[in-house]
Amino acid sequence: MKKVLLLSLVLTLALASVGIVSAQPPGCPADLFPLMTAELESACSGGLAGTVVTMTGPFTEGDEVKFNNAIAEFEEWTGIDIQYTGSKEFEAAIRAVVEGGAPPDIADFPQPGLLKGFVDDGFVIDVSTFMNAEWLQQNYLQSWLDMSQMNGITAGVWNRFNGKSLVWYPIAAFEAAGYTVPTSWAELEALEAQIIADGSNPWCVGIESGAATGWPATDWMEEVMLRTTSLENYDNWSFPADLADRLPFTSPEVKNAAEVLGSIWFAPDMVYGGQQAIVSTSFGDAPLPMFDTPPGCYLHKQGNFITSFFPEGVVAGEDYGVFYLPGIDEEYGKPFLVAGDIYAMFNDRPEVRAVMDYFSRGESVKGWLAAGGALSPHNDAQLDWYGSELDRSIAALVAEATSVRFDGSDLMPGAVGAGSFWKGMTDWVSGTVDLDTALAEIDAAWPTE
């Protein structure tokens, strides 16, 4: 009896191991991926089954679940195992592992400025060495491709982005008060005046964020910059190709943008809690008064991630809506500010190349779009892939935009974009220093080489 049991056990094990070895992945659906690299083609026919690609990035928990869900199909088709590890301290951890000589195969950078440091140090593989250039041209807006050019190489592929030029408002209370969504800057100003005259505060603003206090103020500055000066000036301000072209913070253009911002934030009754509350209110708590009855404020500008900070149970389309922050100067059209994640590769192996090619395709975020909370920069992504009405409407707003620009502070060198810019804005808003001093302080931190 025992022997029979043992024998059957051995047999099952043997069969199982044969099963594992001979399991042939089904391969990708035909014609799904046009203009493939040789490596993706090989992966799609099962040639890379059993290989592992390690990946790291800053997203954890819910986003990690959505990511894994989105790539599960590809892993099944190809047999490539993509092992993602998210870390809260991604910025610190990635530097340690890369400099320690043990980089992940692929890393997700929400800040191109951080990636550029690794490119300058020669750690990053140029994806243009193996990707089909025609495919990249076809699947991305030129703005995205430009933003992936760093120090002469194509540093990675864009996979996801967030819209920033969005104003949230409490629909029911907004309509009950007889307000309408503004479609131009003049209408927005009229709405602000109306809300103030009615005895309420138009805006909720909060820029506190622990060690990163000030970043929401930099977003606002970028919005105003895009709306009051040319794209060329914006690029030279945030990401100058040559230091000689750099538009300093002390220039009239930047100062003008700050003055426009100050005319909103510092006007009496314009902001819930007044100017002092801006610095002391956490960016996550800032939108909460909007959901009080009656609302403490009617407008809140923030990226689409802010919905995860809204109170439990509020519903998009019923409790809150969103509109595009109108352009100021007709001349500069309808620019849209975004932030996003660029995937860069550190190790050159066929399976890593295949996965990178996959990430350049809308298919790789299809599951995430369905789950909500992400927008796709890929031209081959369809609007009807979006699972939520809200995401779809934001994607449509982006599609209507006349230009798309990346969050400037994420493009600037870390000392400015994640340092003096935050601090200078905070000092100015809190009234510690005047505008000229703040701008000079921000500018002084720009590295001179």
Partner: protein, 364 residues
């Protein structure tokens, strides 16, 4: 004489009690926060769970005076105040407070009175989400939705134990031998070596991270348990050797000398005499090292870093808050779960603690 002694005791105990209470208030606040609802934590302090007086809506409404502007003083029931003051609420002097809710056109006047109240809407959901992992609803392309269970703390808990226990025992073993050598064996260069070890105490571990990581990568130790055990052992050794040396060098010389006269070797003396006598010091250091390793975030982040399968409690709990910190309300529950083990260790070993720390300082 007797009475004044008693009074002194009262003063000492009373002072201690006050300090202890003050010291535990933040922890109590944390504990209470961990069982409150997310939106409650954001909107009110944890102390509102205690009975307190607050202004509450009586349900009575008064019509607003028409045609007011925000700059003019407004008179209601004989009281004059600015619009901003009415929005905050104005005491009417008869136990009522009138508050202007809503804007100038569409507002209402709420009549409030003061009542005793307590905020006692508690929940264990935070603990549930932390322990069992959160449930995420993921919508699929075909419109259906699946529930995916997020990472739970069970794996991380076991990983933390796997990291912490050897990382506590290894330095104790090595340091006990070393301390005995420094204290009771005569060999050339002893003082220099000992000063070298003590000097290591002032080297901050942060500056050693990248060089060690490079060596680990070369040796294939990166992301392994052995690697992090050795790292923690190395960072803990100087203090351990110093502490044990102080303790062992103060043990009575007579006992050792009689053992040597009876023909005992150094090894026998160490095992049979020194180790049993040093247990208070060993236990005191064990508590230190255990707490340090258990609560360590930086070393684990760097040396286990980006390997999902061996995340420890600290890194896992830090990840709970989400990429932008939107789920920070889970941190309090996570912190209390993580606190359980250090508390057990501390109470199990605490009777050695003071003894071990004082051991080196007083000649006994």
């Amino acid at each position: 004489m007797h009475a004044s002694k008693k009074r002194a005791l009262w003063i000492v105990n009373g002072t201690l009690a006050v300090i202890v209470i003050l010291w535990t208030i933040p922890t109590i606040g944390l504990l209470i926060s961990s069982i409150r609802q997310r939106d409650d934590i954001r909107s009110s302090g944890w102390w509102t769970v205690l009975p307190h007086q607050a202004w509450q809506d009586t349900g009575e409404r008064l019509p607003i005076p028409e045609g007011q502007t925000r700059d003019q003083p407004i008179t209601i029931e004989g009281k004059t105040a600015t619009y901003a003051e009415w929005q905050q609420g104005v005491d009417m002097g008869d136990g009522r407070r009138i508050q202007w809710v809503g804007n100038l056109r569409l507002g209402e006047l709420y009549v409030l009175n003061q009542n005793w109240t307590a905020n006692t809407d508690f929940t264990l959901d935070n603990y549930g989400e932390v322990l069992a992992g959160r449930e995420f609803e993921v919508r699929n392309a075909d419109g259906s939705s699946t529930t995916v269970q997020g990472a739970n703390l069970v794996g991380a808990f076991i990983n933390s134990l796997t990291v912490t226990i050897p990382a506590t025992i290894i330095p104790i073993l090595i340091a006990a031998f070393a301390a005995y050598g420094f204290a009771w064996m005569r060999f050339p260069g002893r003082r220099i070596l000992f000063i070298g070890v003590v000097a290591m105490l002032v080297v901050p571990l942060q500056i050693a991270l990248v060089p060690i990581l490079r060596d680990y990568v070369a040796l294939g130790l990166n992301g392994t348990y052995l690697g992090i055990w050795l790292a923690h052992a190395g960072f803990g050794l100087p203090l351990a050797i110093y502490l044990f040396y102080n303790y062992m060098s103060n043990l009575p010389r007579d006992i050792l000398e009689s053992a040597f006269i009876d023909g005992a070797s150094h090894f026998t003396v160490f095992i049979r005499l020194i180790l049993p006598l040093s247990i208070p010091a060993l236990a005191a250091f064990a508590i230190f090292q255990f707490l340090w390793v258990w609560n360590d975030y930086l070393v684990a982040l760097i040396f286990l870093g980006l390997n999902n399968n061996i995340q420890v409690m600290t890194t896992q709990i830090a990840g709970l808050v989400g990429q932008r910190g939107q789920d920070w309300y889970l941190l309090t529950a996570g912190a209390f779960i993580s606190m359980i083990v250090p508390l057990i260790v501390f109470f199990a070993l605490q009777r050695y603690f003071v003894k071990g720390l004082m051991g080196g300082s007083v000649k006994g």
